[in-house]
C-alpha cells in the first residue's frame, strides 16, 4: 500500500503499469521511450505526469490507455493483464480507459455535428435507443461538461466552437462510455490561458462526482501543481519516473535534483519573485539523446549532486522515503532517510 497525501490505493489498484518498457526502432537504433516504469492508480485518483519533451510521459499515457503495447512488462486493469485478454473483456477495458487529445482542432471530426459525435458511441454501446433518447443522453453529457444551453451546442459543427468548447465536447465524448480512467494528454496546453483552470476544474469535478481516475499529462508544472493538489505528481526524465509524490512535496520541496531544477527554472507571474528567484545550476545544458543514454543514473552528467563512482555506475531505483514519496536518486534518498528507514523497492 502506498500512502500519498490523503489518497490511498486500497487493496488492488484499478490500473497499473508493472515494469513497463516501450522501445521504438529509429534510424539510429532502438530507443526506450519508457524504461521500466511502474505506476499504480486507484479509483478516483488525480495523477499528473510531468516532464520535458522526450521524457516518455505521452508514451506512458498511451500505454495506460492501451493504445500502445508494452515491449516488456504488464498493463494490469483490475488485476488482469490487459494484453492477454480478448474479445468482450478487452473491449470492456478499451471502453473503460479513454484518452482526451491535446489538439482541440484535430480531436473532433469536422464534418460531424456535436450531436453526431456524441450519439455514435451512445448508439453503439446501447446507451440510448432512438433519436429522442440519444438527444436526451447527449444533453445530459453536455450539461455535465458545462456546455449550456445544450440544445444550442448539439447542432454545432466543430469549427463553430472555440478551443475550450471543443475540449469539453471531447471530454463529453469520452464520458459517453462511462470510463473509469481518463488520460488527458496535454489536454489544456492548446487552450487559452484564461480558461485552462475551468477545464482542469471540470476534470477534477469528474473525479469527485463520478469517481473517474484522471491522469493529466503536461509539461507545465504550474498546471500540474494546481491539478494534483489533492493527488500525485510523477516527474519523468528520459523514460523513467524520477520522483513520485503529492503536489505539495514534489513542487514545494522537490527531492530529486531534476525536479528542483525544473521548479527553480519556471518563470512566474510575479515580477519581484521571478526576477529574484534562485536558479539551480546544472552541470550541462545538453539533454542526452535516447540513443546514447549515460551510464548509471541518466541525469548524472547534469546533476549538481553528482557523486563519482556512485551515480555514473548504479541506476537508482524509485525508493520510498519517510515523507511518503518516492525518489530515484542515491544522494537524495540517503540525505532524506536514515539507512534504517529506507523502505525498499515497491
Amino acid at each position: 500500500m502506498t500512502v500519498s497525501g490523503d489518497i490511498t490505493v486500497r487493496g488492488k489498484p484499478l490500473i497499473e503499469l508493472v515494469g513497463v518498457t516501450r522501445a521504438f526502432k529509429t534510424p539510429g537504433g532502438m530507443i526506450k521511450a519508457v524504461d521500466g516504469v511502474s505506476l499504480a492508480l486507484g479509483q478516483s485518483e488525480a495523477m499528473c505526469l510531468v516532464g520535458e519533451s522526450g521524457c516518455g510521459k505521452t508514451t506512458t499515457g498511451r500505454l495506460l490507455a492501451g493504445l500502445l503495447r508494452p515491449t516488456s512488462g504488464q498493463l494490469l486493469y483490475e488485476g488482469k493483464d490487459v494484453w492477454t485478454t480478448k474479445g468482450e473483456e478487452l473491449a470492456r477495458f478499451r471502453r473503460s480507459v479513454q484518452l482526451v487529445h491535446q489538439d482541440p482542432y484535430a480531436s473532433l471530426n469536422p464534418i460531424r455535428t456535436v450531436y453526431q459525435t456524441l450519439s455514435a458511441p451512445l448508439f453503439r454501446h446501447k446507451k440510448a435507443k432512438g433519436r429522442r433518447a440519444a438527444i436526451g443522453a447527449a444533453t445530459e453529457l453536455l450539461q455535465r461538461v458545462g456546455l449550456t444551453p445544450p440544445a444550442d451546442f448539439l447542432v454545432k459543427y466543430p469549427h463553430q466552437l472555440s478551443g475550450g468548447q471543443r475540449q469539453r465536447v471531447s471530454i463529453a465524448r469520452a464520458l459517453s462510455v462511462d470510463p473509469r480512467v481518463i488520460v488527458a494528454d496535454e489536454a489544456v496546453s492548446m487552450v487559452d490561458v484564461s480558461i485552462r483552470i475551468s477545464l482542469l476544474n471540470l476534470l477534477l469535478a469528474l473525479r469527485d462526482e463520478f469517481r473517474v481516475t484522471i491522469v493529466l499529462i503536461t509539461h507545465d508544472l504550474a498546471v500540474a501543481r494546481y491539478f494534483a493538489r489533492r493527488g500525485r505528481i510523477g516527474v519523468m526524465y528520459l523514460g523513467r519516473v524520477v520522483e513520485l509524490g503529492t503536489s505539495e512535496l514534489v513542487v514545494g520541496d522537490p527531492a530529486h535534483p531534476y525536479s528542483a531544477a525544473l521548479v527553480a527554472a519556471i518563470p512566474e507571474a510575479d515580477p519581484t519573485l521571478t526576477r529574484s528567484k534562485e536558479r539551480v545550476e546544472l552541470r550541462s545544458a545538453e539533454v542526452p539523446s535516447l540513443l546514447r543514454l549515460p551510464s548509471g543514473c541518466t541525469f548524472h552528467p547534469r546533476c549538481p549532486l553528482f557523486e563519482e563512482g556512485l551515480c555514473d555506475v548504479q541506476v537508482p531505483e524509485l525508493l520510498a522515503i519517510p515523507d511518503g514519496r518516492e525518489v530515484a536518486c542515491h544522494v537524495a534518498a540517503r540525505e532524506r532517510a536514515p539507512a534504517a528507514e529506507l523502505l525498499g523497492v515497491r
Binding site: A106, N109, T113, R124
Partner: protein, 302 residues
C-alpha cells in the same frame, strides 16, 4: 431552443445534416463563373441526350441528293454521307456515350473507394493483397487488353462496355483513395473512434468517407471523363463492335467512309468531336469549381 424541439423530425437535418445545403451550394457556385458554365453545360447535354430524343424521332431516311451539305436552316449542322441530318444524330448519339461514362465512372469509383479504404483501414495482409492486386493491374496495357477481349467477348450491351472500362480504371484511383484514407486514419478523432470501439464499418463509412465526399465526387466526375474518352476512342478505332447510334460511331464512320478527306464533310466530323469535347469541358470545369467549394478553408466559420 428546447431539447424536445430538437427531437422533432424537422430538426433532423440540423442535428445531423449535411454541412452544405443546396441553396448555399448554388450560391457558392454562382461566384465561380466557370463552374456555373460547367454545370449548365452538363445539364444541357444530359437533357439533350436523354430528354430531347423522346420528342424528336430519329431520322433514318437516306437522301442521296443531300450528301454532306453545309449547315442550313433545315439542317443546322449539315448532313452526313447518306444525307441524314447531323443535328438529329447528335441528339440521338449522346445517350449511349453518357450512360457508359456514368456507369463506368460509378463502378470504378465504387470499387476504388470501397477497396481502397478497406485496404488502408484494415492494414496488414488485407492491405498487401489489395494493393498488390492494384499494382499488378496498373502494369497491364489497356488497349491491347480491350482489343483481345473485343475479339473474344460479345459487346452487345453498353453496360458490358461500361463494366469493362470500369475494370480498367479502378487501380489508379484505388491507390489514391488508399493514400488519402491512410492520412485521415492518423487523425485524433479516428483514434478516438477506435478507442470508443465504434467499429470498422462506422469508421470507414461514417467518419472517414464523408470527409472525402468532395474528393470522391470529383474523382467520379474525372472517372466519367476518362470513360467517355475511352468509349469514344475505342469506338472510333473500331475496336468495339457497337451498333446503334452514338457520337463515337459517327467518328468511326467519318474515318471509315473517308469523310476526313473532304472539306464538305467538315461539319460531320466536327459535330461529334465538339459534342464530346464540350461535355468533357463542362464536367472538368464543374469538378474544378467543386474542388474549390468543398475546400473547408474557404467556407465561412459560424
Amino acid at each position: 431552443m428546447s431539447v424536445a424541439a430538437l427531437a422533432r423530425p424537422t430538426m433532423r437535418a440540423r442535428i445531423s445534416g449535411p454541412l452544405l445545403s443546396g441553396v448555399d451550394f448554388l450560391r457558392l457556385l454562382a461566384k465561380r463563373p466557370l463552374g456555373l458554365v460547367g454545370l449548365v453545360g452538363v445539364v444541357f447535354f444530359m437533357v439533350l441526350a436523354f430528354i430531347v430524343p423522346i420528342f424528336v424521332p430519329y431520322q433514318d431516311a437516306v437522301d442521296v441528293t443531300a450528301i454532306y451539305q453545309p449547315p442550313s436552316m433545315a439542317h443546322p449542322l449539315g448532313t452526313d454521307s447518306s444525307g441524314r441530318d447531323v443535328w438529329n444524330q447528335i441528339i440521338h448519339g449522346g445517350r449511349d456515350i453518357l450512360i457508359v461514362g456514368f456507369v463506368a465512372g460509378f463502378f470504378s469509383t465504387l470499387i476504388a473507394v470501397s477497396f481502397g479504404s478497406l485496404a488502408a483501414v484494415a492494414g496488414g495482409k488485407v492491405d498487401s493483397l489489395i494493393s498488390g492486386a492494384a499494382d499488378f493491374w496498373l502494369t497491364i496495357p489497356q488497349i491491347p487488353i480491350i482489343v483481345v477481349l473485343g475479339s473474344i467477348l460479345k459487346f452487345n450491351s453498353i453496360f458490358v462496355i461500361a463494366a469493362l472500362l470500369a475494370l480498367l480504371a479502378w487501380a489508379g484511383l484505388l491507390r489514391q483513395v488508399r493514400a488519402q484514407v491512410l492520412s485521415l486514419k492518423e487523425r485524433d478523432y479516428i483514434e478516438a473512434a477506435r478507442s470508443l470501439d465504434l467499429g470498422l464499418f462506422h469508421i470507414i463509412f461514417k467518419e472517414i468517407l464523408p470527409n472525402m465526399r468532395s474528393y470522391i465526387v470529383i474523382h467520379f466526375i474525372l472517372a466519367m471523363t476518362a470513360a467517355i474518352y475511352g468509349v469514344a476512342g475505342l469506338t472510333l478505332l473500331g475496336l468495339i463492335p457497337l451498333s446503334g447510334q452514338n457520337w463515337g460511331l459517327m467518328l468511326n464512320y467519318a474515318y471509315v467512309r473517308g469523310a476526313l478527306f473532304f472539306k464538305d464533310s467538315l461539319w460531320y466530323i466536327l459535330s461529334p468531336v465538339l459534342a464530346i469535347a464540350l461535355f468533357q469541358l463542362s464536367l472538368v470545369w464543374l469538378a474544378s469549381a467543386l474542388e474549390d467549394i468543398f475546400n473547408p478553408r474557404l467556407r465561412s466559420s459560424g
